[in-house]
Symmetry: C2
Subunit: 211 residues, 2 copies
Amino acid sequence: MFMKTKNLTASVSKRRAGRPRAFERDDALDIAMDLFWRHGFDATSTNQLTSAMDISPPSLYAAFGSKEALYREAIAQYQKRYGAFFSEPIGADCSAWDAVERVLLGAAKQFSNPSHAPGCMIACGELQSSADNAFLIAEIAALRQDAQRAIRVRLEAARKVGELPAVTDTGALAAFYAMVIQGMAVQARDGASLARLKRMASLAMHAWPSK
Amino acid sequence: MFMKTKNLTASVSKRRAGRPRAFERDDALDIAMDLFWRHGFDATSTNQLTSAMDISPPSLYAAFGSKEALYREAIAQYQKRYGAFFSEPIGADCSAWDAVERVLLGAAKQFSNPSHAPGCMIACGELQSSADNAFLIAEIAALRQDAQRAIRVRLEAARKVGELPAVTDTGALAAFYAMVIQGMAVQARDGASLARLKRMASLAMHAWPSK
DNA sequence: CCTATTGTGTAGTGATAACTACATAATATA
DNA sequence: TATATTATGTAGTTATCACTACACAATAGG
């Protein structure tokens, strides 16, 4: 007969054999995400991670495998928790102009939200890092490219239906708005206010091609 | 009687007593600048530095004092060698529009120039770093603020002489163009071409207030 | 109860971090 | 030549890095 237990993971998935984990994996991951977001991969030590997560090194390695694997999970957690400001509007059933404006205003709000680390974990992620982490650096750069590509796809669709002039270079325009998001992330990290970031978003919309 | 010697520093400054330095301080500094530019302060080890500079640790410490002091000198070297794309146009005797456009086009050229590291050492500098380097992080952020302030001063002067509408929020406009420079630096680091960056600069000029 | 399985806590591992002690080499000046 | 000064090369220092060996604790299923 199934019985409720104190097992922390019981509520999420079927209980496995063996001693149950003494901490919430997802909570620990949130803490790791916050540290990696603020300080990057290199500058976040396993000591800082285990201290902040309030677990011992063997627990960290048993649960996540390695520092690098933990970083990858933290990035995925970031996308899951904070990726909607981008993915939701860019795929929404609205005009491309509205979609891009919503992305930029969403970025302004999220990058300056004091309830979490400032800026964007991906936009500012691993821009300067050890050559040892070349693979990790390339992965984060690929995520930035993915976002830029998603903008381009949205713009290209808009161009095809006449929302944008037929001659529009959607690749260049997508790169411009990706650049704006990245610049806003740097500004947010330097303490730019919500109002300032919203104004930047508004000014960036002036680059939109006129028909 | 003064005689030419093999002393490397003799040509630059009056020879001091003691054994002469066996390497060109300025060349070594250029090498350190390149490493710090690419990988940041944390991810550049003294081992990498001494190897690349082809000197021993005691020589590095005798010449520069500490890794942190070397980083500061590398930043100063960067400003001296690569700061002109910004400081020259921003102080030039031309319209504010021309000044800002020249800064952005200069950034496009410099950030993508393959003869040195991509992007900007200051725009992308220490965005993610160890909490131990809080002082260093604040210094680089201050340099970004200095640049933004210089733009604002230039725009404010333009507003006063009627080059910009009297109602222009020059602080917000300066933040926008600083953001564009920072975003372009991220794009350059991710491999954006000169043509792409120039197009971004051109699109950013559309945010300029109409009279 | 037993066994298998999985997580935890203690206390480490070797590698590398930034940095330096010390003897010696090379110069300026007396 | 003698002394003071500065740089170099060898070979370290202590601290921290990412990570783990090992004994034991806590669970599932039989």
